[in-house]
């Protein structure tokens, strides 16, 4: 590790000087005017500077406004339907909102369906995603690891509607014989009971596609965190004679525990909000049912319900849908905040972390992963060098 550090740290400096040499030719001419005076404080503020500063501060504030606006407009539009009397209101007593006592009766089963399908997707996707991350970070040959990571990141680039089409054409028929087998052999388990589907438009099929869609986010975050395991810990475990798996159990997993949890939660956040795959694949019903492979007993999710019913809704019904959207917004916000706070707390307790030289490909296709990473390496502008050198001294 110390070799790593000494070999990597000088190189950015060298390049920075090179770049500077190229640039200084023009730079002082551009802005040297104001600083000629003796006083440091009294240099006058240039208008360009002022405009630029207020522009950047303004857009930072704008972002707060946008998020507040999202919540505000959802509330404005959603509340009329939430407080409306669903029993007597004529426009709510027709179409897809028929026969619900109030808003909560309508949104309850949808909430259940959303959480249920995402949970199944997580059960399928999280172990595979973490396995892939482990493969790329610790098993695959170092030279091809970056490329393999890029391939998995490609999954994140495929539009969700394409996954939906793929689910209809490939996954539905593929799961049919499997679900028949489950139903006839394991039908006594409530999950697999009921009348088995003949079309394949089940919540199982939807969740399988969801699990494919959350793979890249889980993989990229846990991979990066696996890669940050201190090399010394790993080498110590290996030197004590552990096999590679024991080394991973001893050194990597304890270090990456919080990262794995938050990766999974961020995957959950993605699964909760996913619309198209579910809307296209499942033939839904608004009910609470834990049966996976039935016809017409598949719990609908909030997002898919909005997508399916929005075009045919009347004004108040639209507001009801916006109200369900508000619920979804609150839930996914909560999941995301919990995930991020786990990452932050984990990194605070884990002491100073050092970056290993990153993979040849920085996975940028996934914004959430880089977001989580930024928290993990608190202030990467300074830390890698300073934290590195201080631990260096300690280890020598």
């Amino acid at each position: 590790m110390s070799d790593d550090m000494t070999s990597t740290t000088p190189s950015p400096r060298r390049t920075s000087q090179d770049v500077l040499k190229k640039r200084t030719g023009s730079a002082p001419k551009g802005g040297g005017a104001g600083s000629g005076g003796t006083s440091l404080r009294g240099s006058r503020v240039r208008p360009g500077d002022l405009i630029f500063r207020s522009l950047s501060t303004g857009s930072a504030i704008l972002i707060m406004a946008i998020l507040a606006g999202v919540a505000l407009f959802l509330i404005i539009q959603g509340v009329p339907a939430i407080v409306a009397d669903w029993k007597t209101d004529p426009s709510l007593n027709e179409g897809f909102t028929l026969a619900y006592g109030n808003f909560w009766q309508y949104v309850g089963p949808l909430l259940f369906g959303t959480l249920f399908s995402s949970a199944i997707a997580l059960v399928i996707g999280a172990p595979i995603g973490i396995g892939i991350a482990l493969f790329i970070s610790h098993y695959a040959p170092r030279r091809v690891a970056g490329f393999l990571g890029y391939i998995v990141d490609l999954l994140a680039a495929v539009p969700s509607v394409v996954f939906g089409l793929w689910g209809i054409i490939v996954i539905r028929p593929f799961l049919l014989p499997f679900s028949e087998w489950l139903n006839s052999n394991l039908g006594w388990i409530p999950l697999f009971g009921g009348q088995v589907s003949t079309t394949g438009s089940t919540i199982l099929a939807g969740s399988v596609v969801l699990s494919v869609m959350i793979l890249p986010i889980i993989t990229s975050i846990s991979r990066e965190i696996f890669l940050q395991t201190p090399r010394l810990h790993e080498e110590a475990a290996l030197a004590l004679g552990s096999t590679r798996w024991e080394m991973i159990k001893l050194a990597v997993f304890p270090y990456a525990k919080s990262g794995i949890v938050s990766a999974t939660l961020l995957g959950l956040g993605r699964a909760l909000g996913e619309t198209m795959a579910i809307a296209m694949i499942i033939s839904p019903a608004i009910l609470v049912s834990i049966r996976l492979i039935t016809e017409g007993e598949n719990s609908q999710t909030i997002a898919a319900n909005i997508a399916l019913n929005f075009p045919i809704a009347s004004t108040l019904q639209r507001q009801a849908l916006i109200g369900t959207g508000l619920m979804l917004f609150v839930i996914s916000l909560a999941v995301n905040i919990i995930a991020r706070s786990i990452v932050t707390r984990g990194s605070a307790g884990g002491g100073k972390r050092r970056r290993r030289p990153p993979l040849p490909v920085i996975p940028m296709s996934d914004s959430s992963s880089s977001a989580a990473l930024n928290i993990v390496n608190a202030d990467p502008r300074r830390d890698p060098v300073h934290a590195g050198s201080s631990t260096e001294g300690a280890s020598l």
Partner: protein, 366 residues
Amino acid sequence: MTLLRQRAAQGGPPANALTSGQLPRFAEVSIIGGSAVASGLVLMLLGFNLVGWLVLTAVVYLVVLGVLSSIVENRRKATDRLVRGTVTVAFLLAIVPLVSTLYTVISRGISSLTLEFITQSRSSSFNADTLEVTNTPGALQAIVGTLIITGIAALISIPIGLFTSIYIVEYSLPGSWLARTVTMLVDVMTGIPSIVAGLFAFSLFSIIMGPQAFSGFSAAVALSVLMIPTVVRSCEEMLRLVPDDLREASLALGVSKFSTIVRIVLPTAIAGIVTGIMLSIARVIGETAPIFMAASFTDNFNANPFDGPMQTLPVMAYTGFAFPGPDIQASNNSAWGAALLLVLLVVLLNLIARIVARVFAPKGSR
């Protein structure tokens, strides 16, 4: 050592100290081959299918490897090998949907992807003699819609995102509450479900414009809610990669902060910034739900983002399946055509992003 001593005490065969108690190197390869052949033969009897064969091969391989290794080596090494095998299988499992998706989209979409499909918008003509309506498939309205909506979204998000990241990295004092809040909010924004962004845009514009507030601009607003956090993230990351030495040197020469950022920091980070922006465009260009909410869908050609529904490629792919016309086959075909076009666009954007990253990256770093 203890093992060797035991062996010696038992009077076993003299062992090579380095390779005794290990499976030979060719063992794994030959077990893979063997289990592939064996499961192939078994499935020949039961009825062959490719997926079953691969699954059975993997299972047989893992079982045989585990058993052999625990006999020849020991339990710890057997577990190690098993985990290695399982993890590799997990990776291969992730490749399957990728390949399968791409194959399905290409094989189904390639037939409808003709020059007419790209250059015509969808139209119907009525033949008065035969009383038949003939529909010509076409995706021009969707292509134009996608480009306009994504373009406007990019125009909104790139300045906001770039300036915000400049604020966070360059202007904010370390630990200032605004910077911390904004960073936190950007993190939170990355988790906004896309459909909620669509609902937001619809709510906003229905308050301004009345209940039928479908327009391309509204969809662009929805997309920028999704795009801004990704732009901020990637730009922030890239700006942080610029060494502090550069900024300090420039400031020490008396260059103003503004000029330092515009002439020194941004040019150094430009490759990464462009790459990040490209990738975030590629990300929102495939969003279906928000556009569907905010811009609805139509078969008519509409290039005015401020008035009326607009068609886009992802929505076209969705509606072709969800709300097919009278000729279901034709609708499905054009849906696949749209999906293929969309995938091509995304791949193109990703490629450009990678090329930009490679060509314009500052020499030496990364």
